[in-house]
Amino acid sequence: MKAVVVYKWARNAEDAMVRTDGSIDWRNARMAAGEDDPAALAAAKQIAADTGGAVIGLTIGDGDASWALARGVEQAFSVADAPSLADNGATAAILAAAVRYIGDVDVVVIGDSKQEPGVPVALAGELGWPALVGLHSASMPAGQLQAVRRVGGEQQTLNLATPAVLGISAESDTDQVPGMKELLAARKRPLTKLTLSDLGTAPVDLVSISCRKPDSTPSRVFDGEPAQAAAQLVAALRAEGVL
């Protein structure tokens, strides 16, 4: 079983700065490991372990591609000149082209990002493969791809055929930071650098017209003496009718 884990495929929104006029400064934001990437990697490794298969890493953009290699992935592909795009479909098309380039892939596992929730599903659409997202784990016992998710107070287990795309949603921050030994080993593992032209793609993004701050009331924070702050909060909550 050949499993691809897609990682570091989006910029970290926390590194972006929103100026007072609402415009976005992305200068300090690079492609970063998303909060769901460790969970996606764990699922890909489980599928590979269950089938005696391999996990192949796939990343795009300017982030450090060794992230997966230092976490037990034997080889990785990086589309380093892929830009960050507002169009999740265009990002997915780059990833799909890379999955086709890697070839003979049975399952693609990707973090089901809250920031870019269209990428995992559009990736499946581009590949023409079935998909499940919002999963909390996946495995492949007895040669059958299996995914687990929670829906409305129920835990559901689903079986599906390969090839397939699985979007994994992290339950908590589970990243295990690699030690020096793993970091050194990562340097020796093969990293294949691809370009957009290798993949025959030339993404064109949507046009950004304008940005503005949303109409919202910032939180009222009381920071005086405890007794005074407590009195202010209780008064505010009573005024809201929730106390």
């Binding site: 976005i24 265009a90 870019e116 929730p117 599906l160 407590a230 009718g241």
Partner: protein, 302 residues
């Protein structure tokens, strides 16, 4: 370019998405994957036409994404909308690729401007609203508010018959949910700001004073075991909608906040003025919870 919109519906939250395409003025077709009752509700809420796909027992809606995408692409609408729930997104992703559409998440509004579609979307975690333009077909993941829609004359509902991919629900078991949290009016919840297991009593005292249910963040239940696992709030735990959610010593990670999206008022106590929770809370106190909690209890009893 035509002005037709299609809305893909696979969950109970669909009114906001349907309302979002109405200002576009074109024909609105809704695809409903689920029970007939849901299709009938959509048909009397302003859709021009409803295509209804009944789910076979044990087959998830996602199994129809591929064949449904072919139906959508054949109609070639300019605008395609679904909600952000996992099922709605899978249906949208398949159709969007088939339609060669732009796919934009976080969409809160749609409009025409000459021959272009203008898309308003929340960016950078909702800190700004960006307007994007495209002249091609667009697939939008709707993230705006739910709305109520006036009743309309019923639109025709026709049955869709498409083939499912090999996908099957093989087991389903209830996840334990703490009694009382689900329908609690008030919830006091705590996180790692509480220093020791014995100090849980301090927070419990506040919950009792406010006549609130006690809850916690995931690490408290999962890693530390200071409260039953059925009482943690967050993405994989309880999703609650109390009138008041008071978070004590909780940093406010997105995974946690997802569980309280339905709360009317969120208040927070945290010693760190930079804590993320103050970005989303309605009210907050910056201070040591060991000093603030007794003060709050005293104030409530006044």
């Amino acid at each position: 370019m035509n002005t037709a919109s299609w809305v893909l519906i696979a969950s109970e939250a669909w009114r906001g998405a349907l309302a979002a395409v109405q200002p576009l003025g074109g024909a609105v077709t809704a695809v409903v994957v689920g029970p007939r009752g849901l299709a009938d509700d959509v048909a009397t809420a302003g859709a021009g036409e409803v295509l209804w796909l009944e789910l076979a027992d044990g087959i998830p809606a996602e199994a129809y994404a591929g064949t449904l995408a072919v139906v959508v692409a054949a109609a070639a609408p300019t605008v395609l909308v679904a909600n952000s729930d996992p099922t709605g997104r899978v249906l949208l992703g398949a159709a969007s690729a088939q339609l060669h559409a732009r796919l934009v998440p976080g969409v809160v509004g749609l409009a025409w401007d000459g021959g272009k579609v203008l898309i308003r979307r929340a960016a950078v975690g909702g800190e700004t609203i960006e307007t994007l333009a495209t002249d091609g077909p667009v697939a939008a993941i709707y993230s705006g508010d739910e709305v109520s829609l006036p009743a309309s004359a019923p639109a025709p509902v026709s049955r869709l018959d498409v083939v499912a991919a090999a996908m099957r629900l093989v087991a389903s078991e209830p996840v334990a949910v703490a009694t009382g949290l689900d329908d609690a009016e008030r919830v006091v919840s705590f996180g790692r700001g509480v220093r020791a297991k014995d100090d849980v009593a301090v927070v419990r005292g506040l919950a009792e004073a406010l006549d609130a249910e006690l809850a916690c963040s995931m690490p408290i239940a999962d890693d530390l075991g200071w409260l039953e696992k059925s009482r943690y709030v967050g993405r994989s735990g309880n999703h609650i909608k109390p009138a008041l959610y008071l978070a004590v010593g909780i940093a406010g990670a997105p995974q946690h906040m997802e569980g309280v999206r339905g709360a009317k008022v969120v208040a927070a106590i945290n010693s760190d003025p930079e804590a993320r929770i103050f970005q989303t809370a309605d009210y907050g106190i910056v201070g040591d919870l060991y000093e603030v909690i007794p003060a709050l209890i005293a104030e409530v009893h006044k």
